[in-house]
């Protein structure tokens, strides 16, 4: 004879049924006790899979989600779209502000910009760079390991932007760093250059050649 199951049990059963629905990778299952929610697609990719496939503890939420109508899903998506558009507008705004700032403060016909690039970096751990233009210090920049790593990976830092009148000028650069045997040392380089009409770009190139086992410092004038 089949009696209907006790009502108070049916609740949990229905929830558990839903629990077999796989959920998103990020919806890992925390225990209700104060255990931290697992990191998403965390240390190994498979974790994402595990989290993604089944989360019985999400049962109640899944139940709620299941109960949620299509309206909710549509509403969420509409909000998400709205946020997408808004974010794009913010990015565009950031860009336009950046453009305005530079065109206003450093117009093309007077702009001079100094870049730093690093090739390899075994023999010189960059610590700081000091720039002087026409005998006036314009920048004294300290480098962190993260920034040096970015340079070594191929990044080219725009270290300085300023304005100069047309004519002859002199750039003096002091590189401070650590050499291959942990010794601190300082190297200098200078360049006389002509500022014409239009922006002037100068590149400070730090290269080290295995052959020489020494860093070399060159200033390239991008005519």
């Amino acid at each position: 004879m089949n009696t209907p199951p006790p009502n108070h049990l049916s609740l949990l059963w229905s929830l558990l049924l839903v629990s077999l629905v796989p959920l998103a990778a990020s919806a890992a299952a925390p225990a209700p006790a104060p255990a931290p929610a697992p990191a998403p697609a965390a240390a190994t990719a498979p974790a994402a899979a595990a989290a993604a496939s089944d989360s019985p503890s999400d049962a109640s939420v899944a139940g709620t989600a299941a109960a949620a109508t299509n309206d909710d899903a549509a509403g969420t998506r509409a909000l998400d779209q709205q946020i997408q558009d808004l974010k794009k507008d913010v990015i565009d705004l950031n860009r336009d502000l950046f453009v305005l700032e530079e065109e206003l403060l450093f117009p093309a016909n007077t702009q001079v910009a100094v870049f730093v690039s690093m090739d390899v970096g075994d023999f010189f751990a960059l610590d700081s760079i000091q720039l002087k233009i026409d005998n006036r210090e314009v920048t004294n920049y300290l480098y962190t390991p993260r920034e040096v790593a970015a340079l070594i990976k191929g990044g080219v830092q725009r270290l300085y932007v300023g304005n100069l009148k047309a004519g002859g000028h002199e750039l003096v650069v002091l590189f401070n760093g650590k050499g291959p045997n942990e010794r601190y040392y300082r190297r200098g380089a200078n360049l006389r250059f002509e500022k014409g009409v239009g922006a002037k770009y100068l590149e400070l190139k730090i290269t080290d050649h295995a052959r020489a086992q020494q860093p070399e410092f060159e200033i390239k004038d991008w005519e």
């Binding site: 998103a24 503890s57 305005l100 206003l104 990044g155």
Partner: protein, 673 residues
Amino acid sequence: MTPGRLSLGLAVALLAAAAPDVRAAHKSNPDKLPSIRVQDLHYGDVLFHFWADQDAGLEALTRLEAYNHWQRMPHHAVDAQLLAAGLYLQLTMHNEAGARFETLLGDNIPPGVRNKAWFYLGKIWYERGYYDRSEQALNRIQGSLAPQLEAERTHLLVNVLMREGRYDDAIARLRSWQGPADWMAYARFNLGVALVRAGRLPEADPILTAVGTLQSDDDELLTMRDKANLALGFAYLQADRAAQARVPLERVRLDGPYSSRALLGDGWARAALGDYQAALVPWLELRQRNLLDAAVQESYLAVPYAYGKLNAAAQSAEYYEAALKSFSSESDNLDAAVARIHDGHMLEDLLGTDKDMRYGWFWQLKTLPDAPQSRYLYTLLADNDFQEGLKNYRDLNFLQHGLLRWDDSMEAFAAMIDTRERAYAEQLPRTDALLASDAPTRLRAARAAVDSRLNAIETGNDVAALGTTEERAQWAQIATLEEQAAALPLPPGLERDAATDKLQLIKGVLYWRLDASFKERIYEQRRALRELDAALEELQNRWVLVQNARATVPTNTGEFADRIAALAERIKSVRARLVDTSGQQSVYLQTVAATELTAQKERLEAYAVQARYALADIYDRAAGQADSAPGRGAAAPDASAPSPEPAPSPEPLPSPETLPAPAPAPGPVPEPR
């Protein structure tokens, strides 16, 4: 790898692969990433910020778009576009990224790069709940990805299929799937679950059992093992096969995250087999745990139910009473929590005292604050929609903060432009008048005139022309006297000749003097002219500079003023939208949270109702037996079946010692569904 690094991995892949001239990895360290060959300085600057800045690529993207606007990266057209798309993706702007990938990922892009792009896009769409788009993106992958990514791709697709109820497709995909060892367990797990959902339990058993018995030290794998056992166990319970359910359930770790459910299920399995005494073992254990757990809540009822089955009515009643008390107090807590959510405090609790955070889609909450009501939100946080909603909220706040930086700048710019305008208002008219005077042309004309005059003098040997003022006056005087002399009606004779001779003599001397100095004077004049030329050239140069300056500057100032004003307006408007949208997102989150908590409360309420019915039934029966009315006793309904109305308890609860002998079981053991 964290998702964040996966996105970076995409970006590097995009960079490295799209740029054909990739420098070889550094000789001394083959594990170092290959350097990117940068041909445009500004592209290099973007890369620098991409790697060095701790802002999920926001600065890098801003610069990328700006440098693009100025067309400063001509050699990196494709690289820059790909990187931009990758950055948009990293910033959770999947619409933008998707649109860009659509146009960018043509045949000119290496397939490896294309595939990776589609993979990450598909993955983020899955995270965001756009399953259809996720499937589309993932299906655009041609060929295979790297094994780990390929495995994840299959997994994502399978999840999409399962969500859409297409179990047969999912099963088909997983059946013969082979992948890296660490993924196989997960694939088998998913296959097992799909089979269960498709109602194919016999096929699911060996698969889930295999996963449920795997040996590992890895905590994640062990957790998955627990899940497999749990899923199999409950599948059997659902199919009324309690004996078979027990086996996997007892494999679930007691100290793992699924132990509560396993204990509950194990209890029901034992109960289904008629052994209520044995069922009490896991249930009593479970009952000591945190009441927030749904399984624990159920155990509060399951325990007295078992005691009822064992005819220990007093204990049963006691436990029902205790359950009611606990449910009631927990219900009050839930009410307080819901109230707090509606007051708007939930997000503060979740996010600490501040509301803005890290940008980007790949982080998640690891710990929760200590506020009491936040414990209810643990289950909520497991919900993907909620998580993504929370990220949106924090992203919006981050962006709001980012805009603050420009407020001071805008003021400074406006002041700058104002000053500039006023300065120009003074200077420009003067400058324009000066330029209009066209001095160089006039001066050059004058110089030309002087030059030709000098030539004429030289050619004509016009010594008198270069005389001093005095000399020229004398010369003129002599000329006048000569005229006068010629005009005089003097008879030819000595006097006239003497006068003429004297005049000639003076003229001769003067001429001789002029002639002697002529060459020198010519030289002097020419030298002066050369100096004039030098000055004229200098003037010409400066003139050009002034003209150039005049040409560029004035139009800018007006333009700038307009641009500054327009941008200030845009900042205001965007800021308002950010505030409004994060408000909407916050309301959404609150609604989800409140709904969840209300659902929890309803569950408790339902359990409480059951408990009350059961209690009433016990009291009825006790009252009935105390009255010694056999019919009534025989007709007394099963303690576990719902009574129509809970009767009030007329007398104090009988103690166990005074209980009569156990009555025969009133009906068959109810099968758990």
